[in-house]
């Protein structure tokens, strides 16, 4: 940050918070436009009054327009968003925090987005957008992309821009149906990615909790075998990170499974594997899907997870995560991770 900005912040300390707030509102309008006052207040995590005050101002400044359909960002508004992007990151201390997280997690790249997606739903979209941008760059070089499920992954698919169709891209569902609701299943996500980019997709339909025998049988099926081969050729893996217990509950795991997860001290979950606080594999769901070794062979791994509640899980997963992994997360998670790490060091 230049000396001018430092002096400015010194003389007007209230400016930082205000700027961040307005920026976030403007950005959210941009992302969700057209959007109304009430909807915006929910998604931006602010009261209706506050939204109203700020949007009135934004309109006076000709950064947004209000029509009967809702509010939209003007070209001037877009420009302001672009010009202030780096600055907002700096006054939030995000750039510094990214460096810190890279050291803590032992990976080469971390991208942190402002705010906490636990508190402000719109932040999830921002994370999705950022991940989408990163992916789009990679699409130039790599064509085989394995994707997992989850709401975060769904957010990415929403933010993929519909440029010129890229028929070479192949999206592979990293797992079969894992008991999650359809919208957030890997299969659905893979289809969504393919639709947005103009690529193709491969799904894996295999029920959970098969008996050992049935599982062995299925693995011999050509359809399934083909997928297993595809996993070997994967260039990019895009996946979320979940809280172990939450995932177990959401997947309606059997009592036996829950017991193993719990007794093993599982903290995090990613592509069907459960990890304890030291990053050791505690349990893995016995179902078809990408294997850890296959993930590790990929050229690029993109992990996406945000919200303070995910901090422990992220920390756990990255104890033994492959080094080329890139993490996209948010301020809430980042702060919590740093806090947890500091506490641990004190002991």
């Amino acid at each position: 940050m230049d000396a001018l900005s430092v002096a400015q912040r010194k003389l007007m300390p209230e400016m930082s918070e205000l700027l961040k707030k307005r920026y976030q509102i403007l950005q959210t309008i941009y992302l969700e436009q057209p959007i109304g006052r009430r909807t915006l207040s929910e998604v931006a995590g602010a009261t209706e009054r506050e939204i109203r005050k700020e949007t009135d101002l934004l309109r006076n400044q000709q950064l947004i327009e209000m029509k009967t359909a809702g509010m939209t960002v003007t070209s001037q508004g877009v420009e302001v968003l672009e010009k202030l992007k780096v600055f907002v990151r700096e006054i939030s201390g995000l750039t510094d925090m990214e460096m810190e997280l890279q050291t803590i997690l032992g990976i080469s790249k971390v991208v942190i987005l402002p705010q906490d997606s636990d508190e402000i739903p719109a932040v999830k979209s921002h994370i999705g957008k950022e991940a989408a941008r990163l992916l789009e760059v990679l699409f130039g070089r790599y064509k085989k992309i394995a994707v997992t499920g989850g709401s975060t992954m769904a957010a990415i698919s929403k933010e993929l821009s519909i440029g010129k169709p890229n028929r070479a891209l192949q999206f592979i569902a990293a797992r079969g149906g894992l008991g999650e609701d359809v919208l957030h299943q890997a299969n659905t996500i893979a289809a969504a990615f393919a639709e947005k980019t103009g690529g193709s997709f491969k799904t894996l339909y295999l029920p959970d909790h098969l008996s050992v025998e049935a599982f062995a049988m299925m693995m011999k099926e050509p359809v399934i075998k083909e997928m297993m081969d595809l996993y070997d050729q994967t260039d990019i893996v895009v996946h979320g990170i979940g809280n172990a217990e939450e995932m177990a509950v959401r997947r309606h795991s059997s009592l036996e499974e829950v017991e193993k997860i719990r007794s093993g001290g599982a903290v995090s979950e990613a592509f069907g594997y459960y990890f304890d606080k030291d990053g050791k594999i505690v349990y893995r769901i016995r179902t078809a899907g990408i294997q850890l070794e296959q993930v590790q062979k990929a050229s690029t791994i993109l992990a996406v997870a945000g919200g303070g509640s995910k901090a422990r899980a992220i920390l756990s997963y990255f104890k033994n995560a492959p080094n080329p992994t890139v993490l996209v997360t948010d301020e809430g998670a980042a702060r919590k991770i740093i806090e947890l790490t500091k506490k641990l060091e004190e002991l």
Copy 2:
């Protein structure tokens, strides 16, 4: 101004005013330190409450310190003042206004300081400080400086910094006592300049309103003659600009004089000359002192005058002012001058 600042101002329009206000308060404290809340509120033209609110904040930001003797600016505060100086000028539009005034007045350099000295007494000190800085640079090249009287000139003398004494400097009172109070007479000012810079000074003591005979007689006196010769060698002339009627009143001019001044449509006054709205000389006080031709021969002429009330006078004086003149003024005067000029153009 860079794109970042433009975007920032777009998103936070209230920032500009706030920044200007705080900057001005901080600057005033710096100039008058140590100073108390009440005194500051008078000199800065703000209510006690407002001053209190802002100074509390400035203290929290460690830009000022509050002791029992009053408030003082910390080193951090000084730094902020320096770093933001140019920026404050820009957001006030002063840089643009300077260019505009240069065109309107037909001179090569104008310096405008924020605010209006009519409303805020402290602005006079700021003008004085700026003029003092400009002069100090010139002192390197030029040694013979003629100075007039007036409160503005007094403000300059107060702000001259006491560097290493410069014995070569010679300050010459441009006029004799003109009926003003002693503190603001040219003689006193010349002495003050000399004291601050370590130079010498020459005074001219000659009563006002002499009869024609007595005047002729005095002009033959060696003491007086010496001064007249000095005026011929003057390098720099520093002078204020006054409102014609005000000056006439302050100098207790005779009825006859006042009548001449009034009937002639005099608007401005400078070193004893009265000018009408077109810059024509309407009247000149018959007393010893520098002559207009001598002023015009000087290498540099520094005119200093501020406050909206001086706008007409400044405009009048500069109709025929020598081109190498530099004007130091304030925002109040500058805005009024521009306003008046625009009105004139419309007719």
